[in-house]
């Protein structure tokens, strides 16, 4: 079958996804763009004997790309192979969108302009003259409303119609002074045998005048580079002089803005003033009530996430435990069975248990984002978070961090500026996740008076959050010194979310989460299991088994626990614990606490069960009185406080760390992220330990 490949491109919030979803008979594929964690959506559809493939690029404001998503979209547009560009614009803000369209038309590729959300403009008494717009731009124009499924299928017809063309019939030219310089520079570029196409040369020259680094890198290796470079500098000087501007980029921006404004004036009857968004905004971002309303929404979101999300948790846990037991029954006993049923399944299960929480949280966040409220939240909080070198939108991942660090790292994707996102992700671990709660409960019960338990717990949570904000401030000052931290954000109008789009997003997120966490967790769990089960000491097991058989029934359990403890002590994990004991001994930790701390890297709750095993009390939870009394016998107060400090600050669990690694591709940052919380944790714990020692505890 004959194939057509098209790319769909447009500014954020123009409704590209809903158009994609509205194309009838389309099959959606979701993946990542090569080498980056930017989602790539593709649809395939058959029509009139054609195999049509449409790639949905991330939203992009301008070819002067800024965020990682924009760079992905831009590079795809410039350097990948495709037949047609489908440029989607929002009819409500046509002028701003057309500025980007004009940039795209510089490429002179076959292009279709899709003017979406036309229903919203018409509802308010506006209209757009499609024929006239098509004539002015020189490309086909389709008026669509994804909501009403209007015009969507015409996109495919047009696609088939124009895909064979070599170039678009675009007739947009800039001011003649600018065109003169473009002409002059294009001639130089065309001297190089690499360029035979005048349109491409013209486009590259425009991009060069706009200081596009990607294009600069390409021409840098051409033999005509020196000549071109010199001529480029002269052209820029001449243009700046002519237009009284500091930068040629400003000239192009003004030029396109003026063009777009005149086009809109010719083709559009502007709608009556929109009022609904104004009215809602009067309440939701009210200078006084805005913040309390926002806090209520957040409270509600987290209540629902953790209350409703915990209902299926038990069932999932039960199902997985049963599955492991069933599997143990049919697998031949031995190392393989043990590795699967004791190592992999419980670990993967522990992650799957968080799936309901994560899905609800994502649904909520998606809802906030799609309705347009997220931008308002960022608006309200930016002033406060700015003091710590963070951005308004960072609030969502930071609060998610109190639930679970894994979805919090993923929620940080809402931050488009890479630096803001990185700083936010680097401090997310300080927001105490819910998995640490059992450990705190155990330690507080063992070492603090009951009437103070609530206050201590509160202090731990607040302390973590404050420390996080302080660290953010320090990171901003030391590592991102002097770099601008712009906060220029579109506040989209309020919209009713599309249920189909919400469901689709959720499904995609769930799939990605299961795949990623599943693979990382499964391999990490294998390692932990291996370290704690090997080397096997058969002689020890046998000698204990003999003793157990001869022992009185009430002693059996004790011997069983003792065996477990000794096996763990001899395992690689125990050996590692002993090896790192010198590191932790200044904090008063013995090898058991060292191992427990290490095991917390697998998952924070594991600290409780590891302590139970190491102090030989067998199965135990955080309310176990035997464990509490054993801890009191073996650990003194200042060591316990040091342990709490360590748990508050050091690296989160492997699931979280894997998510961080998957989200942040730079090795330097991965290394920094892996090391600094542990160093900081040790230093602070050491300080607290010695302070308490000095105070005589």
């Amino acid at each position: 079958m004959k194939k057509i490949k098209a790319v769909m491109v447009g500014q954020p919030n123009v409704g590209k996804s809903s158009i994609i979803n509205a194309i009838s008979g389309a099959r959606l594929h979701v993946g990542n763009f090569a080498g980056v964690t930017v989602e790539k959506k593709e649809v395939e559809v058959k029509k009139d004997g054609w195999d049509i493939q449409i790639v949905d690029l991330p939203g992009i404001y301008s070819l002067n790309a800024y965020t990682p998503e924009e760079h992905v979209a831009k590079r795809y547009l410039l350097f990948e192979d495709y037949d047609v560009i489908i440029n989607v614009v929002d009819a409500n803000v046509l002028q701003r969108n057309l500025v980007f369209t004009l940039q795209l038309l510089d490429m002179r590729k076959p292009t279709i302009l899709v003017v979406n959300m036309i229903d919203e403009v018409e509802e308010k008494g506006g209209s757009i003259d499609r024929e006239k717009l098509s004539e002015l731009l020189g490309v086909p124009v389709i008026l669509t409303s994804a909501k009403e499924r209007r015009g969507v299928d015409e996109i495919l017809d047009r696609l088939i119609q124009i895909h064979g063309q070599k170039r678009c019939g675009c007739k947009i030219y800039y001011n003649e002074k600018i065109e003169e310089e473009i002409e002059r520079l294009s001639k130089i570029l065309l001297k190089s045998p690499h360029f035979t196409d005048y349109d491409q040369a013209r486009f590259y020259v425009i991009r060069l005048l706009e200081k596009d680094e990607d294009i600069y890198k390409i021409v840098h290796d051409l033999p005509i580079f020196l000549e071109l470079h010199e001529a480029l500098g002269e052209s820029m000087r001449r243009l700046c002089l002519e237009f009284d501007a500091e930068d040629v980029r400003d000239i192009f921006a003004d030029e396109r803005n003026a063009l777009a404004r005149s086009i809109v004036m010719q083709v559009m009857v502007l709608p009556q003033k929109e009022t609904l968004t104004d009215k809602i905004d009067k309440v939701l971002i009210h200078p006084v009530f805005g913040l309390p309303i926002f806090l209520f929404f957040m409270w509600a979101l987290f209540q629902i996430t953790f209350e409703v999300g915990s209902i299926p948790m038990e069932y999932i846990d039960e199902t997985i435990t049963n599955f492991a037991a069933w599997l143990r029954g049919i697998l031949p006993p031995g190392d393989f069975s043990s590795a699967i049923t004791d190592g992999v399944i419980p670990a993967v299960g522990a992650i799957l248990m968080f799936l309901p929480n994560i899905l609800i949280l994502f649904l909520g966040i998606n809802l906030l984002e799609q309705t347009g409220y997220m931008a308002r939240a960022a608006f309200l909080l930016d002033g406060f978070l700015k003091k710590f070198g963070l951005q308004g939108k960072a609030f969502i991942p930071l609060v998610s961090g109190f639930g679970c660090t894994v979805p919090a790292y993923m929620a940080a994707r809402t931050l488009k500026n890479p630096k803001d996102r990185l700083i936010t992700m680097l401090i997310l671990g300080f927001m105490n996740c819910s998995a640490r709660l059992p450990v705190y409960v155990l330690l507080i019960a063992a070492f603090f008076p009951t009437h103070n338990a609530g206050n201590v717990l509160f202090a731990i949570y607040i302390g973590g959050a404050l420390l996080g904000l302080l660290v953010a401030k320090v990171l901003r000052m030391l590592l991102f010194k002097g770099e601008p931290e712009p906060f220029v954000m579109e506040m989209p109008p309020y919209r009713f979310p599309s249920l189909k789009a919400l469901g689709m997003e959720l499904w995609i997120k769930a799939k990605i989460f299961i795949k990623k966490a599943g693979t990382f967790i499964a391999s990490a769990a294998m390692i932990i299991w291996f370290l704690s089960s090997y080397p096997k000491n058969e002689a020890l097991v046998q000698s204990y088994q003999q003793r157990i058989e001869h022992a009185a029934p009430q002693e059996r359990k004790e011997l069983q626990n003792e065996l477990q403890a000794r096996l763990l002590e001899q395992s690689y994990l125990g050996q590692i614990g002993k090896a790192i004991e010198p590191v932790f001994s200044p904090l008063g930790f013995d090898w058991r606490l060292s191992v427990a701390t290490l095991s917390g890297l697998a998952a924070k709750e594991i600290i409780v069960s590891t302590l139970a095993t190491l102090y030989a009390v067998g199965e135990a939870d955080e309310h176990s009185t035997t464990l509490i009394s054993k801890l009191r016998e073996n650990i003194d107060f200042k060591t316990a406080v040091a342990l709490i400090v360590i748990i508050m600050i050091y690296s989160p669990c492997v699931a979280a760390m894997s998510t961080f690694y998957a989200e942040i591709p730079q090795w330097a940052w991965r290394a920094f992220y892996t090391i600094y919380p542990n160093v900081l944790a040790w230093i602070l714990a050491f300080g607290v330990y010695n302070l308490l020692k000095f105070l005589g505890y």
Binding site: V99, R261, P287
Partner: protein, 73 residues
């Protein structure tokens, strides 16, 4: 005068945009460019964050960026 001198509800025409790249391109992409009509919609209690409307687009800005937008009533 610039945007921070406007009152909520005021409208003006943008005369000049003073900003560093990449913020400048960002402002342009949002429609904050010479000759366009700008309206001040809101600011937070301490005037740290500002909301303006340019040709139907609402944009949130910080104090620093808002100060760089010169306007004329």
């Amino acid at each position: 005068m610039n945007v921070t001198d406007m009152k909520i509800g005021d409208q003006a025409i943008i005369k000049r945009v003073r900003a560093q790249e990449p913020v400048k391109s960002r402002l342009f992409a949002m429609g904050i460019a010479k000759g366009n009509r700008i309206k001040l919609l809101d600011h937070t209690l301490k005037k740290q964050t500002w909301e303006v409307e340019v040709d139907g687009t609402r944009v949130a800005l910080r104090d620093e960026e808002a100060k760089g937008i010169e306007v004329e009533p």
